[in-house]
Homo-oligomer: 436 residues x 2
Amino acid sequence: MSPVDIIKKKRDGHVLDPDEIGWFVRGVTSGAIPDYQASALLMAIVVRGMNAEETAALTDAMVRSGIRADLSDIPGPKVDKHSTGGVGDKTSLILAPLAAACGAVVPMMSGRGLGHTGGTLDKLESIPGFRVGLAFDEFKAALKDVGCVLIGQTSEIAPADKKLYALRDVTGTVESLPLITASIMSKKIAEGIDGLVLDVTTGRGAFIKTEEDARTLAKGMVGIGQRCGVRTEAILTSMDAPRGRAVGNGLEVIECVETLKGRGPADLEQLSVLLAARLLVLAGISQSSQDAERRARAALTSGAGLEKLRHIIARQGGDAAIVDDYRRLPSAPNRRVIEATRDGVVARLDAELVGRASMTLGAGRERVEDSIDHAVGVLVEVRLGNRVNRGQPLVEAHYRSPDRLDRALALLADAVVIADDAPAPRPQVLETIGFG
Amino acid sequence: MSPVDIIKKKRDGHVLDPDEIGWFVRGVTSGAIPDYQASALLMAIVVRGMNAEETAALTDAMVRSGIRADLSDIPGPKVDKHSTGGVGDKTSLILAPLAAACGAVVPMMSGRGLGHTGGTLDKLESIPGFRVGLAFDEFKAALKDVGCVLIGQTSEIAPADKKLYALRDVTGTVESLPLITASIMSKKIAEGIDGLVLDVTTGRGAFIKTEEDARTLAKGMVGIGQRCGVRTEAILTSMDAPRGRAVGNGLEVIECVETLKGRGPADLEQLSVLLAARLLVLAGISQSSQDAERRARAALTSGAGLEKLRHIIARQGGDAAIVDDYRRLPSAPNRRVIEATRDGVVARLDAELVGRASMTLGAGRERVEDSIDHAVGVLVEVRLGNRVNRGQPLVEAHYRSPDRLDRALALLADAVVIADDAPAPRPQVLETIGFG
């Protein structure tokens, strides 16, 4: 086989054989196929697409580029949740402890922020001492002890995805349903789980802008999960406005702890409990949605979820006292409140612009090599559809540098629109795409 | 501007601005834009295409990546010929001396073999001592002295093309009319010529398989030449069977010398004289095709063309005595004749397969780093449509290694098909696409 022949085949719109896909992925993993050939094939895939069989073969090849973790020596059903990305989307830090508190085993491997969206690993690293980079043995030991770990992809898991993902980010080849599907599913399948809930976001703050594309993506991922023996379901959710109030790493950690204390924003609590409940159903711990939601909510109300988070933080080297004392988290030296300039209704609260404002303040990376300021971010004081009065606070920027503040304020001014009237916002949960 | 935004724009089928194209090409030239981003854009261009304005902007950006040579201190009209590639296509070594012998100035910069096709530089390097790598000053001095130089692209000429061309070869992005157009025309425009004849090949042995694509390519190139002040015309030629008898570097040099001695194959002589004549018309030396052909043929008959070739070889450090003594050229130690296994008509004489057989013997490169064996190749003893008898020689392989011979024989067995009857072959010259 030759890389150029495979590239040309896809370039010309033909279907690649599983053998060709496997051979190419092995070449990328070993370094035998250079980046410039990989990016040419990626672009051909973005433009020409891949059918379900090709996408499954790509996922499989990426799983096989590393190990498929064997967690059979840890008792209990292993389940995980993955989100396709959003702004203020911090459900992982809430639902993982809740599900673990109810008896599920949650070996969660997450990613970093991408573009205007936040990443679970960046949020966790706001916690002093918290280690997201566990070796595979450490990961298994912690999972056995605590029932939940929150880490980054270990080097054994889908190394081909790690390489291709980095390349896609800098070659305009992120926006492709088959590539997104294979990237997400290969990591999750390799993780060694039995059940998976996908939070497929759609809207202004998501990478998938339309419900139709989100549905196609969700169906494809559910199909591949099933094919690989992972019970998979997808929840389509709206990502028009930020989730919860907080956007920015340390601020989001505080909001997660508050939610586990029963004091979180309603939308965030509701979705976190729902997703935790779906994990309990997939894990076979609950036989019905009602029972699962009751258990998940009980873990929240009783403080069992909060205790589990404390345990996770301590086991991964972090300062668990942050749960009781937020002053132990990084905090920005300056605040700036933006107020409503008129009476009216919040007609727009643009998640992408809020996310970009937070990134501009330093909460995200503009370049791969940028470091993250865990203290800065944005607090959103209103919800879509809220009635507000002139002078009422809309958002509060937590900032370090006045230069960055100025750029962020420009974005925030566009992000929130007050109008005389506004249509009702979409519900948070749009649709459930189940297995079987 | 950001490379990723430009890549995405073309990926999504939009038209790039001249500024964006220029910025990207400058980045590729300086190395600021890495190969993996360049190949992603190249693939997007191959699949999405470029309109005439984009192609012109790309050509212009590639010209501006280096110098546009100023040859005004050399008296006389400067003209050149370029072929889009073929098998046994050796007209350059005949027509350039013929046109120069008639008073045209021919600053010919050529390329190396690509895939199954031969390259003028590789052929010239069969001549002991011949230097194709002149510096720009040496090039001008030799052109002033002799009226013709046969060299490779100097480093000053379209360096962006040099980089992109090497990348296209290994990323499946060769077959694109706008990329082919910009690559050819940028080099030729930068060379400093006043007139250009394009030999646009089409058929089994060419890169452009259909007449329709060849015509589109030819029209596009003629348009860009005109726009840049170079009088340009294109001749569409068939490339079904090899041109002339010889395929392989040293063997082709001998055939060129034989042709300049009036003993060459009819098809090769005819096309070389025609192309030389078109150069004389574009140079303003002849006012009519008839007069131009008469002059070109006279240069052949009188031996003036041969004398000019001798002069070119000597001026570029080569052993001009090869013209009189072919034993001074590299020669393969072994020969193998393939004979007709039945009576009939030559129904196929596949240029691509003959080219691949010659490449397999060592006359071309399978990998960029391969070195070339100037002695080996294939002599074709029959023409398409010839009647042959069983046992009659069809092709003769000149080879060094028996291993390579075996692989070449398999290709040659497919290359020549004898049938009871066969349609008349296409004419060599299919169409002329003129300027104005």
